[in-house]
């Protein structure tokens, strides 16, 4: 089985340049707009505010004037796990409502199958999963802007970033329907956040494809992933020239060098 995956598989992923990220919030709103993410009167309780893409503001905790800060956008990390497909959430979902797509490496969420046990949320260390505590309600007239490509989620289920999977489907439909196009090109399938980012901080593409920018960027000497040592094997890479920023990506024991604790993962 696995060999078969290997041959044809794409592995979509993202590289985010944290030295460029300005914390402007465009990615968050582009995502909300693209994916029919609902909003409610009070969104200041960040523990029940659905933000598939969330930008964290992180400080080095030093007192003025030595304080330094960086912003870090956090979509679903689309973990591959220690052996491809063993994502923290996919492995625990009792109803196969979240699944690992071996052809793209994307972790999906089937809204109509999820029955809201929230085990996946307990499993995810990135807080990338959100529960619909409330019925989604749009103010009178605003439901007009809802996109038919993504179904609005009902109360009582879990949702999360899908790497704008519907965009992949639309792009693939074009490939299937075209005589002279055999495969997706890099620009054919991009996520909404990547597209909107004014700073051009996000690069998205097939990590396995040598012609894609992400393939090279992920091997940058300053690239790192979040909580790498847990073996989550994520597909979101971050780049920063600042050592303290890279160190904030993982937990370290005293004496360990930043970036020295990469978890060995199989495959791909």
């Amino acid at each position: 089985m696995k060999k078969e995956h290997d041959k044809v598989n794409k592995k979509y992923g993202m590289v985010v340049d944290l030295d460029k990220c300005t914390g402007c919030g465009s990615c968050m709103v582009a995502c909300m707009s693209e994916n029919n993410v609902p909003f409610k009167e009070d969104e200041s309780n960040k523990l029940d505010s659905i933000t598939w893409m969330r930008v964290y503001k992180v400080s080095n905790k030093k007192p003025y004037p030595n304080n330094e800060v960086f912003y870090i956008p956090r979509p679903c990390q689309h973990c591959g796990g220690q052996h491809e497909g063993h994502s923290p959430c996919v492995s625990v979902c009792p109803a196969t409502a979240t699944d690992y797509d071996y052809t793209t490496g994307i972790v999906s969420q089937v809204y109509t199958r999820c029955f809201g046990c929230r085990y996946c949320m307990a499993a995810c260390p990135y807080h990338a999963r959100y529960f619909n505590w409330w019925d989604p309600v749009w103010p009178d007239g605003m439901e007009k802007y809802l996109s038919p490509n993504v179904s609005p989620r009902m109360r009582g289920i879990v949702e999360k970033c899908s790497f704008c999977f519907h965009r992949y489907q639309v792009a693939m439909e074009e490939v299937y329907g075209s005589d002279d196009k055999e495969a997706l090109e890099e620009g054919d399938y991009q996520t909404a956040c990547t597209q909107a980012c004014p700073a051009g901080a996000i690069t998205f593409g097939d990590l396995n494809d040598e012609t894609h920018a992400v393939h090279k960027l992920k091997d940058d000497k300053n690239a790192f992933r979040l909580l790498e040592r847990l073996g989550t094997n994520t597909k979101i890479y971050y780049i920063s020239e600042r050592e303290w920023v890279r160190r904030a990506g993982d937990n370290y024991n005293p004496g360990e060098k930043t970036g020295s604790v990469k978890y060995k993962t199989e495959g791909h």
Partner: protein, 414 residues
């Protein structure tokens, strides 16, 4: 008025007093039912759970009641499979407590899920890799087994027993009960383990994660072991409470003593295993994930302090183990009570810690600790099945011959 239904040769309080007591507990049940309906109609926004605390009070309650309900399977195992005859005098009650506990767990689960109408997807679209799927299958099967174990008891009601069909059914069921008990013990072993696996497999949550054998993390075995160890203590505790309330001796001391002794050995072996697991986790697993074990306990002292670990292992682990192991101490009623209570608290605390602490604890370096306090709806729905259990136990006690030794220990003067 209901004397025709009351088992022969035993004394029960007046119907009026019984109904009054039931009404008080019934009011609590109604409160819980109201909260349950709120949760079903309005959704889980009625709770204080949030995206960090997706698992909270309810999941803890599930784990806890199933852990203490472990007395049923373990006593069943000892009675029917290993053949400790003496335990037949407490097995009925152990089964009854088990029914209440497992019923509670299923009810809470039905409230806890965001889409209760789709709850059966866990069977239909089952993901065999998920510990929760294992839990769901074993839990429902074992619930069925418990009901089968409970039915003969029900059939022993004086009026029901008069019907020949039911009388024969009851008799025949008793004959095959060993098979069910064995099945039940296996199923229960498995889902107790799976429940342990629920947190143990979370490799993204360093507080919960444990290494293990094959697909089973150490918590899988520890949960089964601890349920077997502490479950009987809970059975003893409930029996003792029942004796206090009814003001009667219902089970002979030698029966209790046997169960207490076995429990003592189990707790002792469990707590040693748990200690080894904790040390390995603290000094190998946690540093491997980049944590110092004290990082796990360094927030709000009262909510997450290190006391919780000491409480669980030393005070609610070693102390009851020592009390129960020594004949002298376990036969001292006060100490027996103490041990039963501590062991019950200990196992509940263990479940609490494994549900709550992984949720509160930041894993990403820029995350923060999260505090959670349940809403009244969560508390009411958690108390609901407990109150319901009390009602079921009261009914069963009044109308069914639960305690075979009751007549002998409390001769009725006509």
């Amino acid at each position: 008025m209901d004397s025709a239904l009351i088992p022969k040769g035993v004394e029960r309080c007046s119907l009026k007093r019984f109904l009054l007591g039931q009404a008080i507990v019934g009011a609590v049940v109604l409160w819980g039912v109201y909260a349950m309906i709120l949760c079903w109609m309005k959704g889980l926004n009625q709770t204080n759970m949030n995206d960090s605390f997706g698992f909270a009070l309810w999941i803890w309650a599930d784990l806890a009641v199933i852990a203490v309900g472990g007395g049923a399977f373990f006593t069943g195992l000892l009675r029917y499979v290993i053949g400790l005859k003496d335990l037949k005098n407490i097995i009925n009650y152990a089964v009854l407590i088990g029914v209440c506990c497992y019923g509670s767990a299923l009810l809470i689960l039905a409230i806890d899920i965001g889409q209760p109408l789709r709850g059966w997807f866990i069977f239909w679209h089952a993901n065999v890799h998920s510990m929760l799927t294992e839990v769901a299958f074993c839990l429902s099967l074992y619930m069925a087994v418990l009901i089968i174990e409970y039915i003969p008891l029900l059939l022993e009601n004086r009026q029901v027993d008069k019907i020949p069909f039911f009388h024969n059914l009851s008799h025949n069921m008793h004959v095959v009960m060993a098979v069910f008990a064995a099945t039940g013990a296996f199923l229960s072993c498995f889902h107790q383990g799976s429940l342990g696996g629920v947190s143990g497999v979370l490799f993204g949550r360093p507080f919960a994660f444990r290494e293990g054998i094959f697909i089973w993390p150490w918590t899988f075995f520890l949960f089964t072991w601890s349920a077997a160890a502490c479950g009987p203590c809970f059975t003893i505790l409930v029996t003792k409470i029942t004796e206090k309330i009814t003001n009667k001796k219902l089970v002979k001391d030698n029966v209790i003593d046997l169960l207490a002794k076995i429990s003592g050995w189990m707790i002792c072996s469990y707590i040693i295993a748990k200690t080894i697991d904790t040390l390995y986790w603290a000094f190998v697993t946690a540093p491997h994930a980049g944590f110092n074990v004290m990082d796990f306990y360094d927030d709000n002292f009262w909510a997450h302090g290190i006391w919780i670990l000491i409480m669980e292992i030393v005070i609610c682990g070693y102390i009851p183990a020592i009390i129960l192991l020594r004949e002298k101490t376990r036969q001292n009623q006060k100490l027996l009570w103490t041990a039963a209570i501590l062991a019950t608290i200990g196992i509940c605390l263990n479940r609490w810690v494994l549900v709550m602490q992984p949720m509160s604890m930041p894993v990403m370096t820029f995350d923060e600790w999260v505090l959670y306090l349940p809403s009244w709806q969560e508390i009411a729905t958690t108390i609901l099945p407990i109150a319901g259990g009390i009602m079921v136990i009261a009914f069963s006690y009044r109308y069914l011959p639960i305690f075979p030794q009751e007549q002998e220990l409390n001769p009725v003067e006509d």
